[in-house]
Structure formats: C-alpha cells, structure tokens
Subunit: 287 residues, 2 copies
Amino acid sequence: MKTNTHCIPCFLRQANETLDRLEIDESRKRRILEKVSHKIFEIPFEKSPPHVAREVYKLIAALTGIKDPYKNEKAHANKLVLKLYPELKKRVQQAKDPFFEAVRLAAIGNIIDLGAKSTFNLDEELRNDLNTEFTIFDFELLRKKLETAKNILYIGDNTGEIVFDKILIEEIKKPVAFAVRGAPIINDATLEDALACGLDEVAEVISSGSDGPAAILDSCSEEFLKLYHKADLIISKGQGNFEELSEEDKPIFFIFKVKCQAVAKQLNCDVGDMMLSHKSHRKKSEA
Amino acid sequence: MKTNTHCIPCFLRQANETLDRLEIDESRKRRILEKVSHKIFEIPFEKSPPHVAREVYKLIAALTGIKDPYKNEKAHANKLVLKLYPELKKRVQQAKDPFFEAVRLAAIGNIIDLGAKSTFNLDEELRNDLNTEFTIFDFELLRKKLETAKNILYIGDNTGEIVFDKILIEEIKKPVAFAVRGAPIINDATLEDALACGLDEVAEVISSGSDGPAAILDSCSEEFLKLYHKADLIISKGQGNFEELSEEDKPIFFIFKVKCQAVAKQLNCDVGDMMLSHKSHRKKSEA
C-alpha cells in the first residue's frame, strides 16, 4: 500500500505523541516536528506508510538520542497480557472451536498499538469484541491451508499482543517461525519481548531484521527473507504489516484491526473492524 | 490560547479534508500540503490556533482558486436546522425553564463543525446530549449578568448552528448584536447565512470582519471592535472563538463543545464535553 496524503497528519500525530513521552519542551518539540515534516515530504509516497514511519521514528531517535521511548510501556503490555494468559487459554480450551476462538483473540490482541492510538483499553476490547464479527473472515480458507502447510511463518506485531499470538500458535499444532522486529520501534515486539513472553516455547523465534513498524522487506535480514520466500503459509499480524505486504503475491493471511481511515477506505470498511483476510481483500476473490 | 504542537497534525488533517472536497488528485494534494506544512512552521506559535488555521485556509484558496469549498455543505446545514426550528422552538417553549433549554440547545448546535470533524450526526447528538450535563456550567451567572446587561454581543460560529443561536437570542428578550465571519472559511456562518436563517429578525446582524475561523481580533473590523469593547456581556460560540478569546479580560461566556485534546487538556475535561464557561475556566474562580 502506498502512503497517501491522509497519512501525513498521522505521522505528525505519532511524532507528537512520542515526543510527549520524552517530556521535551514545546519549543524543542516544534523544531523537531519541523524537521520531521520536511523528512516526510522528502520520501516518495510510492513507499508504504511503515516505510515513512520508520524514517520519522529514526529521525526522532537521532535528534533526541532516545532510541526506545516506549520501553516501559512495552514491558507493561507484556506483563499485562501474560497475567491474562491462563484466563485466555481457558477460554480457548473451553470453546466449541478452540482454533476459531484463538484466531478471534489474536485479532482482538491487535488493539495494543501505541502508534495508531496513544492508549488502549484491553479489558473493554475483550468484552466488546467477543460479541463482534470479523468484517472479512477467510477463516475456513485459513483452516484448510493450515492442514497442508509445511513452512509456516507468523509475523508478529506488538508487545502484549504476542501473548495472544502464542495462544494461536499453540492451536496451530505445527512448527511455526515467529518473526519480530529487528530493533525497537513504537511498542512493537522485538526478540527481547518474544523471549519475555515465552514465544520460544511454541515457535522458532527470529528477527525480521527490519527496524520499521512492519516487516519492511527491503530492510529485512536474509534469514527472514529466506523463510518468507519459502513459506507456504504466512500469518501477518497488524495493520503495519498489512500496509507493507498487502500487494505481495504470497500466501498471506492478514489478521488485524483496522486503525485508520486510509486503510478503511482501501478495504471499504470502518475503523475498528476486525480482519482475517487472505492476501488483500482486493485479491480475495482470486484466493 | 497559543497554538501547540498537537495543533500541527490537526491543521494538516483539515487541509487534507478541504482538498478532498475539491477533488484534487493525490500528487497535487501532496504538493499543496507541503506548502501548507511550510506555512504552519513560519507562523509564531504565540498566535492562536484560529490564526494559524486562517493562514492554512487562505493558502489553500490561493493555490486552488476556490474560496468557498464548503458552500454547499453550509447551505445544507442551514436548511437542515431551519427545518428543525419548529420542533426545537416547541421544545424550548414547553420546557420548565425555557432559557435553560435554549442554552443547552445552543451548545448542542455547536456540533455542526466541519473543521473539527469531517462529518456530524445532528440527530444522534440531539438525542444524546439532551441527557448529558455541561462540564463547566456558569448558567446562573449568565442569567444574572443578562438581567442588567445593556450591550450584548453574540459571536456566532457555524452555519446551521446559527438557527440554535436564533432560538437562544429569542429567549434573551433583549437587543443583541450578532456577529458572523467576514468571509467564507470552513463551514462558518457569514452575513449571507445569517440572513438566510433569519437572524436579522431577532438581532442586529454584523460582520466581525475577520476572515479566520474565529473573531481574530487583529483582523476584525472597527465596527465589530467598537461593539466588542463596549459590550457588557459577550456570548461566544464555538471552540475557535474560545481559542482566540479565552485570555481576553472581557465579560465573555463561552458556549461550545470541546473538540480536541489540546483544548480538553487546557480545561481539564474530555473531548465532547459541553461548556458554558465565564471567561476561561482558569479564570472562573475570579468571576
């Protein structure tokens, strides 16, 4: 997906919220935002939104010297969902269709995204979304493809959310490679988080190598790209990975909550909708 | 109120939404937004948000040649609320305290703001807000001050909303000067709108002279400023006028719905809250 002009205010909102966390005074914030704004317009909009966002966050890190402004919030999110793990696990085990329930929870877990929104209310989300439907729901296709899949790649997204991913991977009952970001960005999960949440107990945890808020292919490691191209089934979590990979000709199932109007417009849905979409919705009929 | 860094993405969002209405293609939109972005950073942030917004909208008008992109939506809003007038009027007349009811409706009418949000749902708002309370409610002070006031200035805000203002002015039962914007900006009401909604039947309608989305004092006409300085009671509608006038040492009652985090933070309240505040809340205790 290309960046569009509606992404510009969103990048600047994200920059603002990151600078708020660093407690930078108003006049310095203003100078940094001016540089961020210049940077945004230097990048061709043929690039994906996560590509531009990566440049924004890198510039903020360079200008402030702080490389991981979401460090505490990430640790908190991991702890929060780890505490819920027994309850969530029980919910899956007692469900009529445990795999279905695990997929639903994995989508709900995608609410933990501090790039799209400054805060989240997981309790409320868990209460609400258990009664809502997926807008695009290629569930039976996912189940079918999983039966024969031999090389499964699961591309994670946020801290905390990866505990939901762990539960889904346990229900897949097959070897899975679980990829996380190569460096801290927003509240996205890195190797450290995956280990803290025990993803290594259920999957082969690898780094995508990308330091952007998605598996930005031209910044991914060879190790990741080898698995990516070999995979016969890819589960991609989160809107960032969708934005980056939606035009790829790969066997990808995107699981995410829609977080902005730009993506909602592309998918002809509403902000807040839950998605389980094979490739992009545009290509759904070809699936 | 000074502009703060959180206003920057909001200005660019507004610019985007205005350009959407003009059906300008993506690459031209991008070039215009880059210019808008440069312009924003040229203006000292000591200026109020409406001051910066004025420059943004003026630049868009200059670059596109279209001076009134909200023309049709403004006419629609006027018609929409004029149709509701008999029902709203009846509601006021049948209320236990008609003046109280008219004040409430005037605040609710402030939802019709296409700068803060691209769309509004008046029906829903009328249903919901009749059951909600004002967060700051200097109502008895307003009633008391109105008893002795001799020179009342009412500064209007948006099209459609001015029909609610008409109903409130009818309940004031005293001569009122009603000020509108000096030129089209967003969906704000101008002389043409005031006449279309019959404000001239209940008040002396004047132009503030300002071509910004507020009565920006350094751009107001002498006629307006004379009334402004002479007034012993000023009713100021909308968040834009609040942002511009909140630090003025004048007998102003601000009636508006809070539409952004920057103002919510200043007033220690939530977005969506209804306000009837004498001067700014900060100065409330001195009132």
